[in-house]
Symmetry: none
Subunit: 366 residues, 2 copies
DNA sequence: GCCGCGCTTGAATCACGCT
DNA sequence: GAGCGTGATTCAAGCGCGG
């Protein structure tokens, strides 16, 4: 099989080590791997209200000892290394049960760690017995195949995702719950489905549109869904046919938005102009005296001044500053204020006007 | 040297492996270790006898470095294991450069990880070149010497420190800056001085007053300062005489507050005396033959026997055992059974009688 | 339609001391 | 050291229901 025969945008059913060995070498740009954690749970766990916790006891998470887990880890990481392009990078997620062993083996196989990232869960499961600290995070390792090689890092896209400040190594995101969690007959389809927001940061930060993303432990297919959503190619490998079916249906339902007006198109365009809110007033798209609505609320409103700042309950400041006061937290005003679109008769986010402005000046420049 | 000759509240100048080997075994309750990790700059610290071979290729050199670091790590962790009591625990702090190797070796030496904690820095150094995520955290591993052994975790003290909710594995604390940072002639006395708030959580969570805390990489002495402040004994080991002098002066200046009115004192529900249900019958507060009501229900009832156990539908057992049968789940009987208070004409929880009993024996003891 | 309340649930290495 | 009896212990979200 040569590089041209790479099976793109498909799920390959089978053992990930064997399947990867059958793929052409140096052919994928990114690997995201969510391997078994080797949790080693013993006995039952009860909540204080006398209900039982439905823990992870899947067959795929059973290993006899550390040596077997290490051998397995070394094998699949070696296979990953072979299919990665020399400029490629790999992400691996885990908890203290396995991530220290994975990190050591990554280093031993000459991967070069670029960052470790902690996914801080806003809604972790508590420690019901009060005998340890609440396990409220998981760890992601990001490593490049070859130390010193060129790699993709979309600094500006990450900065925009983080309110205009550099993205840090701590990511606060909720667990995968609610509508996003896939259920079959009311039961969770996969015991460890990851949130799409997590994969969104992974894929957006370290690939470009059109790149190939491989996930050797595909599970419910979150990696494929987000890759498709962000206009990346994807390859999934999954042993369990039931998971394959679930992931296929899930990804088929994804309708990617147009590439050009999403963060997904943001490569390292460090020169992307920042837009002053005043520009929108100067364009006449918003007018002094006009009302803006915070988070689409009918009650929280502000008035635009001729200087392009907001007035709200005696408070005057930028869209970010006023938003910050209302939220009592850091605030990217572009993402919180809405204006009344009279033609449509509905509220629209002002961020759409920023995008429109950027398209205009971009068109003028070409 | 036997346990009685443990050199408490002192700094021992020397190589930590040798010094620990000279201490009595199974003698300390807690170890906090902040080991060096930068191989290239600090290699001499852990391989005094090694000579570097010129002309080796990168791969060999690279392997040699990891192997040497691992050997050093295994040596000092083995020495730690020897001096720890069987009920003892150890904390190790590091970054992605070393913590994955440390974690693996900890596990290989049969330490049992209790938690990994991420110290999220509220004021990290930015990534000036914009080529990675801002490195905004460090990792602490907390492990016990022997899996399944009893260990100290002051759950309630931690909960109080965290606004009444259980403490999580993510700790947001600033770096050591400002007045706390020790300076000599305007320069940092130690390049990696840890904040006292970090050690406060470590020591408070996992030791009791009077326990012995050992720090094999004592540096500027933060561990000793916080241990003294919280009425724990401490032992510091440090190679560099300049650091020893700084730490000694620093700790001498610490004035511990009274123990009793701080979180540093140690009391919780787990350690108060257990009450046998029979005691309430002996006191005459409940009588053989009397009826108890489960969860205040009128239907589920039980009869007290002279032996202080319950009879319920042919079932006989303790308040916990019978409750367990009724609930089909683990049950703390104190919180589920009610008795009829004839004077008040209403049902009252039997836990109130336990509280009354505890007050009586507490008053009698003083 | 909105609000508030109650129920459910989650990658979890989840007790401890006395006999 | 094993067995056994006592008894300590939960947070954020989503969802459904009733007012």
């Amino acid at each position: 099989m040569d590089a041209s025969s790479l099976p793109l945008d498909r799920i390959l059913q089978g053992d990930c080590i064997e399947v990867m060995q059958s793929l052409p070498e140096k052919s994928v740009d990114l690997i995201f791997a969510d391997p078994p954690y080797n949790l080693q749970l013993e006995g039952e766990l009860w909540r204080p209200n006398q209900t039982r916790v439905d823990g992870v006891d899947d067959e795929w998470d059973h290993f006899t000892d550390f040596a077997e887990y290490d051998r397995f880890t070394r094998q699949w990481l070696t296979a990953c290394r072979r299919v990665l392009k020399d400029t490629g990078t790999i992400w691996v997620i885990g908890t203290y049960h396995n991530i220290y062993r994975v990190g050591t083996i990554l280093m031993d196989l000459d991967f070069w760690i670029l960052n470790d990232i902690v996914w801080i869960k806003t809604n972790p499961m508590p420690n019901f017995r009060g005998v340890r600290f609440t396990n409220a995070h998981e760890t992601l390792l990001w490593a490049q195949k070859i130390k010193g090689a060129r790699y993709t890092f979309n600094y500006q896209a990450m900065k925009l995702l983080n309110d205009g400040k550099q993205m840090r190594s701590d990511w606060q995101l909720p667990r995968c719950v609610g509508k996003e969690r896939i259920r079959v007959n009311g039961l969770k389809a996969h015991s460890t489905q990851k949130p799409e927001a997590l994969l969104y940061r992974v894929i957006l930060s370290s690939t470009r549109p059109g790149d190939v993303v491989l996930d050797p432990f595909f599970g419910s297919g979150t990696t494929g869904a987000v890759a498709k959503q962000t206009h990346r190619h994807w390859i999934g490998i999954e042993r369990n046919p039931a998971y394959v079916a679930i992931a296929e249906a899930r990804i088929a339902a994804v309708q990617p938005p147009p590439l050009h007006d999403s963060l997904a198109s943001w490569e390292n365009r460090r020169t992307r102009p920042r837009v002053s809110f005043l520009k929108l007033v100067e364009k006449g798209w918003l007018k002094p005296g006009q009302t803006l609505y915070f988070d689409s609320s009918a009650r929280l409103t502000a008035t635009i001044t001729p200087e392009g700042v907001l007035q709200c309950n005696g408070l005057t400041g930028s869209i970010h500053q006023v938003g910050r006061e209302l939220l009592h937290a850091p605030c990217n005003g572009w993402l919180h204020w809405y204006y009344l679109d009279e033609a449509a008769g509905e509220k629209r986010p002002i961020d759409e006007l920023r995008e429109r402005y950027l398209r205009e000046i971009s068109a003028a420049g070409t």
